[in-house]
Symmetry: C2
Subunit: 397 residues, 2 copies
């Protein structure tokens, strides 16, 4: 018998994926399932982007340059310039989604066995990319009581050994919605500088910042140009997750020189997706105003509704479109499954993302879940009613 | 100073890439460069495929299932059925290009340090994927004198050690154009069975078989269902390289179960590319007749013209759209650079792919090059005239 690799066996299956069959079964039974578990926004892709793809007039869908179309990279450089990040287009490699940017950064900067520090809870797929690249994850825990602020510097330094080569952050954060302040980022800068680490900064939710707060990019930090790799994606910004277009951006020429070889091996990022991405840069401002207003309304409603339910605690997220919530349950994985398998309220139920998949430390986040506010408010209202009833009925407390 | 990883440093830069600046410089000087170096066909993408993308009518470009749209996988299963390969749609994972299928197969079946046998010369990017997955390449040499037939079984067995976990073949072959016979594939089957290896079969040029020969797929081999992983792509079949859509196909359920986790980590293959790929399956037969006639004419012309040049030897390729050629030169890398840097004939020159990048054994293929017949015949004629003149003038012999 041929054997699956140890690497393949170590690849995690997220707790959300395990719930999918239960959601499908619930739908087969005719039940309405409100999906609060996913990061697929329901908002429309900008028309300018859809038009660009409908109006293609070439006869052959060719490869692009391995680093992406030059015209797109130049336009992206202008976009970054406008948000206060000065880079050259040659500092950009267009990737197949933010996913590939994460993978390229890890493989270019880290060897099998190296360790990467991640504040937990974190984007669950970081585990997959780290495992695929044969890296070890070193979690530093952020706490729901602190609203998931950056853990104290001492907590980071406690974990820094010679094996640690990088820190990865997601800002604004998935799953917590936490937006790192300039002050927090400067603390990170100091750690990175002192211990000679890479800082991978995943900023795919950059445009989703609320309450008058502005986003501060890791590429705006002074003195660590060689250390910072920005990981980006158009997926959330323009609600075009399916185009699979992201970017790896760094002022460290050596990283570009070596990351491009991984890019050359896979030939080219998607041509059609790049056309959409490039056109999206000209999305009118009103689009973002609408998106902002929509998310603010949903967030405010959701957080208030959750905190009204007895025993529930949900800190106010300042960015992205997720909220982390502490639930009065024994085990959020079991609760999430129960919601789909055994519960219904007026033939409706909800699917939530249990937080266990967002923590690397075993046993953490067992009574937490991530709620994505990617549904319109009237659906959120129905979903919250379900949650309220469910938490009263749920036997495992 | 932060350090690039050993893995990043080990990523190869192909000899073709090194030539690109010289080609750009030649063009800046106003010189016409005939590109015989690339695998980007000049033939049109089927209209049915272009229309599918122009006619999209959704409002949000969403993620697909991580294994690809179910409708596309079901249609692909029918396509395979028609070519004599019986599989279920659940045996298919849609990948981001054939590239990602190679990468998923290697990572799911092999661990860092494992070895993979590849008949050389081989597709240069196999080195990149193997390096990215921390694998070692074990080349088994095929020879131009034999027309690049499968090396004798003894040559394979000489290299099989406990570290060897897989063999990868490309059929029809890039760069040689060699089409493996059923008999040769059955010999490979016996090796794979006897030594309990995986067989990764890259069949992206399946539709390009000439002289009445038919393609025999590794998935048609009996008795090694658990061993075979088919790697496929729509890039060449429908001249749509830029869509980045491929597939990993295996009847081994365990491989699917674990490869899907790598697929889930990167969320989804490109949505727009899948729309193009799915529509392409209905490409009318006449398209392939035209493509076949075009390539046959080009191939016949090219091989005859090359063999007419003094000191040149080019075996007749039976598939794909490449020919490997032995040249009367000291070093094909140097010759290729000289063509771009120092040579011109009526203000024209050619760019060829030196074969050194297709061999893992150092020093092999130094006087060989790959010629892609992806230009129309009248351009090939001009390119061959250049070659003839250049080989007379080239000082390094």
């Amino acid at each position: 018998m041929v054997q699956i690799s140890e690497r393949g066996k170590a690849m995690p299956q997220s707790p959300i994926r395990k719930l999918v069959p239960y959601a499908e079964e619930a739908k087969r039974k005719g039940r309405k399932v409100y999906h609060l578990n996913i990061g697929q926004p329901d908002l429309p892709t900008p028309e300018i982007a859809l038009d660009a793809i409908k109006n293609i007039d070439f006869k052959v869908i060719e490869y692009s340059h391995s680093a992406g179309f030059e015209s797109y990279r130049k336009k992206l450089a202008e976009y970054y310039h406008k948000i206060g990040v000065t880079i050259n287009y040659t500092d950009i490699i267009i990737t197949t989604g933010g996913s590939e940017a994460i993978s390229f950064a890890m493989k270019t900067c880290m060897d099998p066995g190296d360790e990467i520090i991640i504040p937990e809870p974190f984007y669950a797929n970081y585990i997959g990319f780290a495992t695929a690249a044969s890296l070890k994850i070193v979690p530093v825990t952020a706490h729901i009581e602190d609203g998931f602020a950056l853990p104290p510097i001492e907590d980071f330094e406690k974990h820094i050994t010679p094996g640690v080569k990088a820190i990865i952050i997601c800002n604004p954060n998935n799953p917590t919605g936490y937006l790192y302040s300039k002050d927090e980022l400067e603390k990170l800068r100091n750690i990175v500088q002192k211990h000679n680490l890479y800082l991978f900064s995943d900023e795919v939710y950059r445009e989703f910042c609320y309450d008058g707060l502005t986003h501060y990019s890791a590429l705006q930090l002074k003195g660590i140009d060689d250390h910072v790799v920005l990981l980006d994606s158009v997926s959330k910004r323009y609600s075009e997750c399916g185009v699979r277009i992201g970017a790896l951006i760094t002022r460290n020429k050596k990283i570009i020189d070596h990351a491009i070889r991984f890019a050359q091996a896979r030939l080219s990022p998607p041509t059609l997706g790049q056309i959409v991405g490039e056109a999206s840069i000209d999305t009118p401002k009103e689009y973002f105003v609408q998106v902002y207003n929509e998310y603010i309304e949903r967030r405010n409603y959701l957080v208030e509704a959750l905190n009204k339910i007895e025993g529930v605690f949900c800190p106010m997220p300042k960015g992205a479109f997720y909220a982390m919530v502490r639930l009065p349950v024994d085990d959020a994985d079991r609760f999430a499954q129960w919601l789909l398998e055994d519960f219904e309220y007026e033939n409706q139920t909800v699917m939530i993302a249990p937080a266990s998949g967002f923590y690397a430390t075993k046993g953490r986040g067992l009574n937490e879940a991530r709620i994505a506010y990617v549904l319109k408010k009237q659906d959120l209202e129905k979903a919250m009613k379900c949650m309220e009833v469910a938490l009263k009925q749920y036997p495992g407390k």
